[in-house]
């Protein structure tokens, strides 16, 4: 535990998109007690967004809000403040990636619960999405692996297990993923690498090849890889 375990919200900025009324005053009072800094706007245009850590919005006026991100992929935890529990407002809030709800009239209890819930479920959702994207990439890259395996088996006269082990050891040595190694191996411009490193039994990749491999780790690799692989 670090020394800030007691003050998880202190110094964080909350944006409140709500008209100045009794509920808004109750929310501001409770958030101040919890040590948050408060920004209040309503209504607000897409381009006026300040830097905030969490956002509360009035779900009763849901159609008035325009968030500056792709629908359903909020960049900060969203908490919907809900007066009328109509299916349409609940659905709108959920489809925009709301992490927690606060029911009107806002009381002093409930805000802390909503904050903790929103922050945790937002972080969980983010991490799950990141894991899912990584896995999707890996599924896409399986074809690359298969292609590289075949190429290595034919060129070096290896069994599938031997070829796989060779790729695995090489990816560990160069500290790159198997997918990246396969991509590099399959690309025409580094065919020399094929002959010098993986192509010859008993030798491993030279220093210059490692540099080439690492240099190839930049965004867009896979879009090119699709082209190479297809």
């Amino acid at each position: 535990m670090n020394s800030n375990a007691f003050s998880s919200f202190r110094g964080q900025t909350a944006l409140i998109l709500h008209d100045a009324d009794r509920d808004q005053r109750a929310l501001v009072a409770q958030l101040s007690r919890l040590g948050l800094i408060i920004e209040q706007r309503c209504p607000m245009g897409r381009h006026e967004w300040p830097q905030v850590d969490i956002c509360f919005f009035d779900a009763d006026r849901c159609r008035n809000h325009t968030f500056p991100w792709t629908k359903g992929e909020p960049r900060v935890p969203l908490i919907a403040i809900m007066g009328s529990e109509t299916p349409e407002r609940i659905q709108w809030s959920l489809s925009h990636g709301t992490s927690a709800f606060l029911v009107k009239p806002i009381r002093s209890s409930g805000t802390y619960l909503a904050l903790v819930t929103a922050i945790q479920s937002f972080a969980q959702r983010r991490s799950l999405l990141a894991d899912m994207r990584e896995l999707q990439e890996r599924v896409r890259a399986r074809r690359l692996l298969f292609k590289a395996l075949l190429k290595l088996m034919i060129s070096s006269n290896l069994t599938d297990d031997e070829a796989f082990e060779k790729l695995r050891l090489e990816s560990m040595r160069c500290q790159v993923s198997m997918e990246e190694l396969c991509l590099t191996y399959l690309r025409d411009e580094i065919s020399s690498y094929h002959s010098s490193a993986l192509g010859q039994a008993g030798t491993s990749m030279g220093r210059s090849s490692k540099v080439t491999l690492l240099a190839s780790r930049r965004p867009g690799n896979y879009s090119r890889s699709k082209k190479v692989a297809s």
């Binding site: 007691f6 003050s7 040590g35 009381r107």
Partner: protein, 407 residues
Amino acid sequence: MAGMVTGIRSRPEVGVGLLFSTTGTYRTIGTAMLSGALLAIEEIAADASFDFKLAPVIENPGGSVPYYYACCETLLRRRGVSHVIGCYTSSSRKEVIPFFERCDALLWYPSHYEGFECSDNVIYVGASPNQHIAPLAGYLMSAYGRRGYCVGSNYIWPWESTRIMRQILEANGGTVVAERYLPLGVKDVKHIIDEIAELEPDFIYNSLIGESCYAFIEAFSAASARRGSGGARLPIIGSCTLSEPELLALRPEARGGHISSSVYFQTIDSAENHRFIRRYRKRFGSSAVASADAEASYVAVLLLAHAIRRAGSTGIEAVRSVAHEFTLEAPQGAVHVDSENNHCHLTPRLGRSTEKGDFEILYTADGPLRPDPYLVWFDPIRDTRNWSAIGHDRSYCQWIETQEMHR
């Protein structure tokens, strides 16, 4: 004045609910709280500078949580009061708060508690966690060590206060060697004493209440006696709840040497406190002992009376809006309500119990400390160091300096 009933007497009367369990497992505390509240009500009646009197409307929930709700229905709906002084356990307070919010009534809660709550319908007169748990943790760590054993009753206050104690300990490089809970009222504590003897912690954090607490301290004292002067000593017990009337419920040989963290001890040496004790004994008998709970209830009634006088009304909104505008000279020292969180600025103290049944005051804070119910501004290293036995323990000071260098 709005909200007051004029009786036969010239000064109008304001009904005030008194909700204390004077029977049940924590009746000793409930009785002390009721006494403190009644004393203050009688003082207001005798003070001509108040143009009203407070009329007590007493309900006894007997320590049963569901019955607290029923008592509140009687007070707020049938008896028509809008101010209630009462509750001791956090479970009883949490049980009745929604009802107070629905009726828009005000609960004046005269007990220390674990924090993490802030209802607009409650004025919190007792200590917040930064005012009692933190000083106790700081002192126990510095004077005895950083391995704590936690034992408590099985409800909110012990769970939450132990969590805070554990977080403070861990932030300071310490550990909780075990955490045990007993149902309210259970007196079989042998397995707890055996485990403490086996684990040899540096100190015990005790959040047992009522009869379980007395049984534990008695058994602990008996185990210490069996070990004799030659045997290894059992660790020290630190509590935030142990008070004078409870010490008197113990055998004299079990009373002494326990640490208690509280904003009030009967032994506070001030003119205001001497006056309070004199009146308390005159009213409840020469053997009556004042305690933090009795004093907090006394202070709660005085805060309410001063707020009504200042607001010129008994209305909740009017009373609440002026409650933070004045400072009360209480037996414990200056007390005032924080305008942001409805909790009180109070002066933390640490005491060591004596065989006589009171507390020798070890430390007193320089002045009232701002309440921090959500521990937003609290730093578990910086804010416990103020309470360490600095000067008594050089190694702890050096260790703290090392920690500072690494931060």
